[in-house]
């Protein structure tokens, strides 16, 4: 057993090459479509439609990206990026606030129906967004929130998953800490701000990454409630760029939009990754 483990760690010679070969092949397979999209965003429309498709970047990079960002097809991509950013951040921050406070209530306060509320929240985990999308639409339409940021954000804010995660984390914090704060004279909210929140920092960072991407990748909901192109988010906006009817699709601009749509989640993952890996390394509990 022990020998097998050392073998895995210190693989040499042929084994080393083989593992790298498989890894590189895997990366190429995953990366190839993204590369194609990037190439397509740097050439002209005729070059794309004429087979064979080019495999190396052309000279239209700046032109295509400028066109996408400031003109777009229906609406400038910059507007869609802004909408997506507001929605994704709104959803991530909103979900974190709601689930932190509800987990705080469930773990630290004794009130009638506490367990029932927890299980009710937990039950909603089992219902995917699509199941309740028609009634949700009704409600949002009734509030007049179609084509608005509130309409994009609010219905997606409640989060059983995040509530559950924070609850589990709070349960690992020793009761003595809450009692020490109580003896120190901290009110429940002071305990929440001064102790619970800083201790949850790394969990918040990890959740923010997950929830930001969740918000960014929303497709069905924005598609339903935004009819005004200026409220389009980028993920659904890409689809809206395809022409209906016989018009020609402007592939270089669409591909440039796709590449642009990928950048913010990648930036969030890379920048936050450092934070939560550091959080994992010097874990404080």
């Amino acid at each position: 057993m022990a020998r097998e483990i050392t073998g895995m760690v210190e693989r040499r010679g042929f084994g080393l090459w083989l593992t790298h070969l498989v890894m590189i092949a895997g990366v190429l397979v995953i990366f190839f479509p993204i590369w194609l999209a990037f190439v397509a965003s740097t050439v002209t429309q005729p070059e794309i439609v004429r087979p064979p498709m080019p495999l190396w970047p052309g000279d239209q990079l700046i032109e295509n990206y400028t066109a996408a960002l400031f003109a777009g097809v229906n609406v400038p991509v910059l507007t869609m990026l802004g909408n997506s950013l507001i929605m994704a951040v709104g959803i991530a921050v909103g979900k974190i606030i709601i689930s932190l406070t509800s987990a705080f209530a469930i773990v630290y306060f004794r009130f009638p129906g506490r367990n029932m509320f927890f299980w009710l929240i937990f039950l909603t985990l089992m219902l995917p967004v699509e199941v309740r999308i028609v009634p949700t639409y009704e409600v949002i339409a009734g509030f007049g929130m179609l084509n608005s940021y509130q309409g994009l954000i609010f219905p997606l804010i409640a989060s059983a998953t995040a509530t559950f995660l924070f609850r589990q984390f709070f349960l690992t914090i020793p009761d003595e800490l809450a009692e020490a704060a109580h003896v120190d004279g901290a009110s429940p909210m002071q305990f929440f701000w001064d102790i619970l929140l800083p201790m949850s920092r790394t969990n918040i960072a990890a959740l923010f990454v997950i929830l930001f991407i969740y918000g960014w990748n929303q497709y069905l909901w924005p598609l339903l409630i935004t009819t005004d192109p200026s409220m389009n988010t980028i993920v659904m906006g890409i689809r809206q760029m395809f022409p209906s009817g016989d018009d020609v699709a402007d592939w270089p601009v669409i591909m440039a939009t796709s590449i642009l749509a990928m950048i913010p989640p990648v930036v969030v993952v890379i920048s936050m990754q450092k934070l939560f890996i550091r959080g994992l390394v010097d874990s404080e509990k």
Partner: protein
């Protein structure tokens, strides 16, 4: 600095009464140790004084105020927890000053008070560290510091040394006692360790199953245990308890005849501390030695009596044991014999 008085304090969780009426008057500056086995209610009692548990019945007074319904912070107490309960994301200085910050003291004043307490506890160099960078003993000191900074009337300790290794525990025991004596702050200290209780207490409360079996000075409890439980709990190794019968002016254990210090007639429980037994060729107690544990200064001899009961004697010096089955005759001075009622366990005489 204040007195604390508990008047028939009771605690019920539903129908179960976990504290069955404890009364105690603590003098100003006194160090009281509450000792008992786990589950005896000692921590619950302390937490009721702290205000972390509600008091079901009875009255608690801290200083001259009724404290039953006061918030912990208004009781003018500070508590040291078993797991230290330091805030992990705050530095030592922030941990110590958090209570003062909540109380709304100006920053400069907090810094001075923290610095003073740190100096007292030799923590000055560690003020900027985080709890996870400290050793167990240092964390314990920070927890103490957090209590001291607030200059409370009463210190409450909930098994503060149980997470430390044996050597450090002895050292911290002395430090806590010295510090308490220097500051003169009334203290309640909960522990399950009878050595801590014996060495630290001005007076101790021996608790069992929610009742105070005995309240008294450590020597009082050792020399005149009020109940069979207190007798067996305090003292190491624990007291030998034998069922004997009083008749014809003596106590009979099978056919072993022992003096009868109280003149009690009928069945009675006899307690003999292992360290009070002396080897005596004429001794009435005949013990078959099965195992010897040399501790250096003394030797523990474990074995059984002719009646089959297990028995332990602690004799000074080193006793080599010849290959098993050795018979030893022991005697004890009547002054060191403790008699307890068979039914109630209460002390007789």
């Amino acid at each position: 600095m204040a007195t604390v008085s508990l008047d028939n304090i009771k605690k019920r969780f539903g129908p179960t009464e976990v504290i069955q009426g404890v009364s105690l008057d603590v003098a100003d500056g006194e160090f009281i140790v509450i000792v008992g086995p786990s589950g005896c209610g000692k921590s619950t009692l302390l937490r009721m004084v702290a205000g972390l548990e509600t008091i079901t019945e009875g009255e608690l007074r801290i200083g001259d105020r009724r404290a039953n319904d006061l918030e912990p912070m208004d009781r003018d107490i500070a508590m040291v927890f078993q797991n230290y309960a330091l805030y992990p994301h705050m530095s030592v200085a922030q941990n110590m000053g958090y209570g003062l910050k909540i109380a709304g003291l100006p920053k400069a004043e907090i810094a001075t008070k923290v610095a003073d307490a740190a100096k007292l506890l030799q923590l000055t160099e560690l003020l900027d560290r985080k709890p996870r960078q400290l050793s167990g003993g240092q964390r314990q000191r920070v927890a103490m510091g957090r209590a001291i900074v607030r200059a409370p009337s009463v210190f409450l300790f909930d098994e503060p040394l149980s997470n430390l290794d044996a050597k450090l525990r002895v050292q911290m025991r002395l430090e806590i006692r010295e510090l308490q004596a220097k500051l003169g702050i009334t203290s309640l200290y909960v522990t399950h360790d009878q050595v801590e209780a014996m060495t630290m207490a001005d007076r101790m409360i021996v608790m069992n199953a929610g009742r105070a079996e005995q309240i008294g000075t450590p020597l009082d409890v050792y020399e005149r245990p009020a109940t069979l439980f207190a007798a067996q709990f305090i003292g190491s190794p624990s007291m030998n308890v034998l069922e004997v019968e009083g008749r014809d002016g003596a106590l009979w254990l099978g056919d072993m005849r022992l003096p009868n210090p109280t003149g009690h007639i009928g069945p009675v429980m006899l307690g003999l501390r292992p360290e009070h037994l002396t080897p005596d060729p004429e001794g009435a107690i005949v013990m078959q030695v099965l195992l010897a544990e040399p501790l250096g200064a003394n030797t523990l001899l474990h074995g059984k009596l002719a009646t089959g009961q297990g028995f332990t004697a602690s004799l000074p010096g080193v006793h080599a044991l010849s290959h098993g089955g050795e018979t030893l005759r022991l005697s004890i001075s009547p002054a060191n014999m403790h008699l307890f009622d068979t039914a109630t366990g209460a002390r007789l005489g």
